[in-house]
Amino acid sequence: MKKFTLTSIFSQLLLLIFVIAWIAPTFGLFISSLRDKDVLAISGWWTSFTTTEVNEIYRTKGKDAQIKEGEYYYIKSNLFRENKGKEIFRFGVTSKNIDEYEVGETALFKDGTEITVSENGDYIWKSQNEFKKKKGKRVFVSAKSPPSFTLDNYKEVLFKEGLGQAFLNTFAVALPATLIPLIICSFFAYALTWMKFYGRDILLATIIASLVVPLQMSLIPILTIYNDFGALFGVAAKSFPGIWMAHTGFGLASTTFLLWNFLKSLPQEMMEAAKVDGATHYDTFIKIVVPLSVPAFASIFILQFLWVWNDLLVGLVFLDKHPSEIILTAKLKELLGSRGENWEILTTSAFVSMAVPLFIFFSLQRYFIRGLVAGSIKG
C-alpha cells in the first residue's frame, strides 16, 4: 500500500489542479462550439446541460395568414420558426407585463382581439373584424428551453468561413515539416552517436549551441536568402516548399539533440554485436536502431508536429494570406479581427485547430511509455 505523505498529497492535489486547469477550458470551448449561437451569446456553457428559463419575444403573422371561420377571423400558426423543444409556460402581450397569462389562457390585445397560446408555441388569434395590418403583433413568452446542441457552427466555419481550406493548408505544412526533419535528423543523430569521424564533437557542440539561437533573429535573413535563391530557379517567394524548408531548418537542432540523447542510450554491446554479425552502419540503422527508436520518433514527431501546427510567425512570413495558402493560426487571427463578436465562430474555429493536436497526442501517447528496450541488457 502506498503511504499518503504530505508530499504525495500535495503532488496529487497539484496534479488535480493541472488536470482541471487544462480540462475545464477545453471542455468549455468544445461545448460552446456546439451551442446555438443565440444562446451562446447570453449564457455560459455550463448552463447548457439543464433546462433553462428564457424570456423571448416573437411576432405573430400578419393579415396574409388569416382565415375566416363562421363569424370570426382567425390567424393560426406557431410562434417558433423552428421547433427546438421549447415549452412555453407563461406569456404576455405587453412589454410592461410579459408574463401576465398562464399558458392556455386567452389574452386580450388592446384592439379587442384575443389570442390563445399553447405550450408548444401554437397560437390562435381571433378577431371579430378582418385583420388589416401586414405586420403581426408582439407576443412575450417565458419558455423552458431544454439542452440542445447543434453542428451548425462547424458547418458554417468549415465551409463558409474558409476554415476548412486553412485546415488542409496547415496539414500540408505540418506533415512534411515534421517528417522531413525527423528523417534527416535520425540519420544525423545516428552518425553523431555511433560513427567515428573527425570533428564529431565540434559538430555536436555546434548543434547544441544553435539551440539557443532565437528563431526571430534568423527569420528574416533566411527569408531573404531563400528568396534570392528562389529567384535563381524561378520559384515563388512564398510557397509550401519554402515553409517546409524553414521549419526543417528551425527544427533541425532540437530534433537532432533529442534523438542523439535517445540513441546514445542504446546499449553499445548491441551495436557491436551487429557489427560482428556483419551489419554495416546503414543496416544497423535501418534494422536495429529504427525499430528500437519508435517511441523516441513518436514523441519527437508529436513535439515537432505541435510546434509547426501551432506556429503563426513562420507561417505568416513564409506563406501568403490568400485562401489557398493561409494556415489555421493565421486564419484564426484574421477571424478574431473581422468576426470578433461572433463567439460561435471563434469557439468553433479554436476547437477545430485544437482537434488535431489532441488527436495526435492521444493516439501516440502510448509510445511515450518506453518499454521496448527492456530485454536487450540483463535484468
Partner: protein, 343 residues
C-alpha cells in the same frame, strides 16, 4: 578452426598505452582464457581480436591471415557479450539468423543452421519468443547460439557468465566446456574469475596492466607461478606471502630460504597443524570461519605478517590460541625482491 597469433600488439588511447606489446600464439582448437584484474586490458585485447578496436601497433593474424585491416564481420570470429547484446525487437530465431541474413545465406540453409545450433543448446522451443520473455540463462544461450550459427573459426567470450547467478554460472560453465569439446573450435574467453579460468582453460593467459604475466596450463600456473602476481592471482583464498627480513628467520624456522629470497609463499590449503618442534611457523589465531568442509583461520604471525590457513574441520583450535604450522617443502615458493619466482 584456426590458430590466432598476436605479434607485439600494442593499444594506445589518446596518448596512454594500455596494452604494452603482447606476443601470444594460440593453437587451433585451443580453449584460451584471458584472466586478470579489472582494467588490466584483457577485454581490450579480445576486442582487438574481434575487430571492435583498432590495433595501434603490431599484428594479429587469424588462421595465418593478418586481420589488422579486415572488418569484424569478415574475420571469421563470433563474439558473446557480457550483457548478451540480443536485439530486443527480434525473436530468438531472428536474433540467431541475423548474421546469416546479413551474409545473404539461402533461406533453407539459414533454417537448418539455426535449428542445428538451437538443438545443441536445447533452445528450439524458444524460437518465437522475444528476448524480454527469456530468463538470464536462456538469453545467454541465445547469445551463444547466435555465435554458433555463424560457424566461426574463433569464438570470443567477453565475461559471458558475470551477469548470471552463482548456480547458473556453474551450469553454463560446464555447458561451455561441453560445447568446446563438441565444436572443437578455437575459443578465447575473458574473465576476472579465476575459478572459471581454472576449470575451462586449456591454457590460461594472466594479464596485468597491459602485460602478459604468464601463459600456461592451469596446473602449471598453480604449481609453478612465474612471479608473485600470478601466485597471488591464481588460487582462492590467495597465496600467503611472508616477508623474510634480511635472511633472518623470525617467523620461520626449519627452512632454508635461498639468499636472494625476499618472500616465501605458501597456499592456505597447504598449511597444516604441527607439534612443537617439527613446525615451521608460529602464530596466534585471530579469527576462524567454519565453512563446513574446512576451517578458514586468520593467523597473526609474530612479526606483522598475517596469513590464512585452510585447516581440517576437526582441528581443535580456538581464537587467540598460539598454534604451530607446517607444510611440505614441495609446496613452498620463494620470490625475490622484484617479485620473480626463485626455483
Amino acid at each position: 578452426m584456426a590458430d590466432v597469433n598476436l605479434k607485439s600488439v600494442k593499444k594506445t588511447y589518446d596518448k596512454t598505452e594500455v596494452i604494452h606489446g603482447v606476443d601470444l600464439d594460440i593453437n587451433s582448437g585451443e580453449f584460451i582464457v584471458f584472466v586478470g584484474p579489472s582494467g588490466c586490458g584483457k577485454s581490450t585485447l579480445l576486442r582487438m581480436i574481434a575487430g571492435l578496436e583498432d590495433i595501434t601497433e603490431g599484428e594479429i593474424s587469424i588462421g595465418g591471415e593478418v586481420v589488422n585491416k579486415i572488418i569484424a564481420a569478415e574475420r571469421g570470429v563470433a563474439m558473446v557479450f557480457q550483457s548478451y547484446a540480443l536485439y530486443p525487437h527480434m525473436t530468438v530465431f531472428n536474433n540467431m539468423a541475423f548474421a546469416l541474413k546479413q551474409a545473404k545465406t539461402p533461406v533453407d540453409e539459414i533454417n537448418s543452421r539455426v535449428l542445428e545450433a538451437a538443438k545443441i543448446l536445447q533452445i528450439e522451443s524458444l524460437f518465437e519468443r522475444l528476448p524480454k520473455q527469456l530468463s538470464g540463462g536462456q538469453r545467454q544461450r541465445v547469445a551463444i547460439g547466435r555465435a554458433i550459427v555463424r560457424n566461426p573459426k574463433v569464438f570470443l567470450f567477453d565475461e559471458p557468465l558475470s551477469n548470471l547467478d552463482a548456480a547458473l554460472r556453474v551450469q553454463t560453465r560446464i555447458e561451455i566446456a561441453k560445447l568446446h569439446s563438441q565444436l572443437t573450435a578455437t575459443m578465447i574467453y575473458v574473465t576476472h574469475d579465476q575459478v572459471e579460468a581454472m576449470t575451462l582453460a586449456d591454457r590460461i593467459v594472466v594479464i596485468n596492466q597491459g602485460v602478459i604475466e604468464q601463459v600456461g596450463t592451469p596446473i602449471e600456473l598453480y604449481n609453478s607461478p612465474k612471479n608473485q602476481f600470478v601466485a597471488e592471482f591464481i588460487g582462492s583464498p590467495k597465496m600467503n606471502m611472508i616477508n623474510i627480513e634480511n635472511g633472518e628467520k623470525f617467523d620461520l624456522i626449519n627452512i632454508n630460504p635461498p639468499s636472494e629470497a625476499d618472500k616465501i609463499g605458501i597456499r592456505p590449503e597447504h598449511l597444516s597443524l604441527a607439534n612443537n618442534g617439527s613446525h615451521k611457523l608460529k602464530g596466534t589465531v585471530r579469527h576462524i570461519e567454519n565453512l563446513g568442509e574446512h576451517l578458514l583461520c586468520y593467523i597473526n604471525l609474530e612479526k606483522d605478517n598475517e596469513i590464512t590457513a585452510k585447516l581440517d574441520v576437526n582441528s581443535d583450535i580456538k581464537i587467540n590460541e598460539k598454534i604451530n604450522l607446517n607444510w611440505h617443502q614441495d609446496h613452498q615458493h620463494f620470490f625475490d625482491s622484484s617479485g620473480l619466482s626463485i626455483f
